[in-house]
Amino acid sequence: MARFDPQRLLALFKDESLEQLGELEHGLLRLETHPDDSSTLQGVFRNAHTIKGSAGSLGLTHISTLTHAMEELLDMMRQGDLLPEKGSITELLKCKDLLHEMVSGLGAEGPAFDEGRFAGHLSSIKALKSSGRIKLNTFEILIRPSPEVFLRGADPADFIRRMPQSVQVLQVQADDSQVPALSELDPTRCYTSWRIIVSTTMSAQDLLSHFEFLAVDGEVKINDSTSNNQPALAPCAGLSTPGSAQPLKAQSATIRVGLDKLDSLLNSVGEMLIAQSMIQQAIHKGGDEAVRSLRALSPHMQAACREVQERAMALRMLPVKEVFDRFDRLTRELSIAKGKQARLVLEGEDTELDKGMLDKISDPLVHLVRNAIDHGIESPEIRQTAGKPPEGTLTLKAYQLGDAVYIEVSDDGAGIDTNKLIKKATSLGLIEQGQQLSQDEALSLIFHPGFSTAEQVTDVSGRGVGMDVVKKNVEGLGGRVTVKSTLGQGTSITLKLPLTLAIIDGLLAQVGDQAFVIPVVSVVESLRPRKDEVHGMQEQGQVVDARGEVLPLVRLHNELNIIPKTKNPWEAIVVIVQSGQERCCLLVDDIIGQQQVVLKPLGSATPSINDISGGTILGDGQVALVLDIQGLVERARARQIHDAPQGADMGGQQ
């Protein structure tokens, strides 16, 4: 253990806290536009908490007092007692600025910080805290005044303009559809009705009393839309950020479709209709001729259907530009915040991806870009010493290859030092002391969950923050993440994504009397092993020697409780599947064929079942379950490690 050095400790605290403060600021800014983002709130809370903890242990009372106050405010937001709206966020940001000064000034000469501002922020936070507790309600107010309302000296518009102070008007819609033509218009009559969305601490009752003079001879209805959880209405700013479509409910989601795509779909539908009428005619011929004609027409119909399917799917496809465009700003802001110089290069922005997928990869991409600037690209000074241009380049590149879309996030930064990764992994107990790892294996350590939750992660000059989450998200979409890095030259992370979430190419396999779908993307090959290629004990810990590679055998009939035609792998088929870097063999009775299947969720009534990711309906009307290869492989590997000594014994005997 190194000698206790308060100076070094203080320097470490400064580094760590400044980084936390940077994250805190980003979190707060995001909260302002996404007040419902609980994970961001959680992150911000953790930032404040971390600083508070360290400051407390170092005896930095003022810093810990201020962070404590912030933490309390954030906790109220977590409990839902206070809304992360402009006022509270602004205050927290100001506190963050002061904290930044306080932390930066540590160890320097002169007055440490402005006592006046310090006290001011503490009391503002106190005020905000007492203003909380009352929840903000969102109401929809529907006003249909009596047509005679003007003759009573009341102007409905006045009531809308002069809402009580605690009411924040989010949206006003006037319905003027009842206003007659000018020649028939009586200016003393009111034809307009209104729909107003407000956010207020008032109760519906109190709000209604504001409009009681209109309600007396007209109609005023107040609906509580707080409970409906319509985040689109809550923050007005949220309306202008369609890029982050996540909080929007699927039912209201819309998509902009190019006219050419729609036209080509209609064109294909036309072809299908022609094929349909030809089939109709063929049937009328009757007898052998009908059969002959139908047989001839079948491929025609098949082609037409496929075309309709493809073009309908294309409607869901959007250019990645929609997501890429936000990174310009992010890159600029992040690099300023981190004191770096970074240039963003976008390539292949017109590559199209399923809308659902696009929404889901946006957050992982933000993460990767952040990491690249935060940990990848070096400061201008270091870059120059290394003989690189002071400005780093961050490239976001998308392209389609086969039935997958690739998105690469690469930088020309420091790269990942695998030796440090290994050292870190060893100290965390993720790998054995002295264990030999290939470059790829070492790099994939960054995806280990332990790496991101471990504290002091920033001591490692690589990446690590939340990479496991990125990997999980991408694999959840049926995609894969790979990382390449050369020390001193940069890092490139590639996301491989299936073109669409809804339709997959499936390998149909028979087990007992049931058919299962194995996503073709996961299939490496299928084969019938020879008897001497199957090792291990009957019913457990079996492995198959497939072309020299020893893989664990998963007996689907055991996993799924089905009686198979045969239990002997040499009389059946094994399908070698891969998830991430890992493979295993699935034992099935037979392969039926390959076809495109429409993936359907099993529905909320069925809880998530191990090994099954969804269902589909086959051409003959039979329902087939789609296997969750990722889960199967992970479980097989886990079991194999568990059974390892036994497996090794058996291997030794044979």
């Binding site: 000296g153 102007d155 002069r162 003079f213 001879d217």
Partner: protein, 123 residues
């Protein structure tokens, strides 16, 4: 000044209370003792009142009659007229609204309540 309010009530205490609290808040207040007096002042004052607040039960001309008369005067056709009512006067309230009353304030009221009401109609 354009912020004048006409207050009509036969009770002197009420007239006093209302004119104090409104003039403290920067409004010009003219008071009248009954409907007749009010109509007189409404027609003869140099400026048009921005808001009229009237009691309902008054001698000579009651509040509802006053409202009817005022609504016939083009000058006051669209002027907010607020009546003073008590909880027990639900039917009277509706009658007044039909006669053209804009709104009401329930007696007894606080100066703050009155001010909030006035602010609704007069900027």
């Amino acid at each position: 000044m354009g912020k004048s309010v006409l207050f009509v009530d036969d009770a002197a205490t009420m007239r006093q209370l209302v004119s104090f609290s409104l003039s403290d808040a920067g409004y010009g207040v003219v008071t009248a003792v009954d409907g007749k007096d009010a109509l007189d002042k409404a027609q003869n004052e140099a400026e048009t009142f921005r808001l009229i607040i009237t009691d309902l039960n008054m001698p000579h001309m009651d509040g509802i009659e006053l409202i009817r008369h005022l609504r016939k005067n083009t000058q006051y056709r669209f002027t907010p007229i607020v009546m003073l009512t008590t909880e027990s006067q639900e039917t009277k309230k509706l009658e007044a609204v039909r006669a053209g009353a804009t709104g009401w304030i329930v007696k007894p009221f606080t100066p703050e309540g009155l001010l909030a009401l006035v602010k609704k109609f007069v900027n």
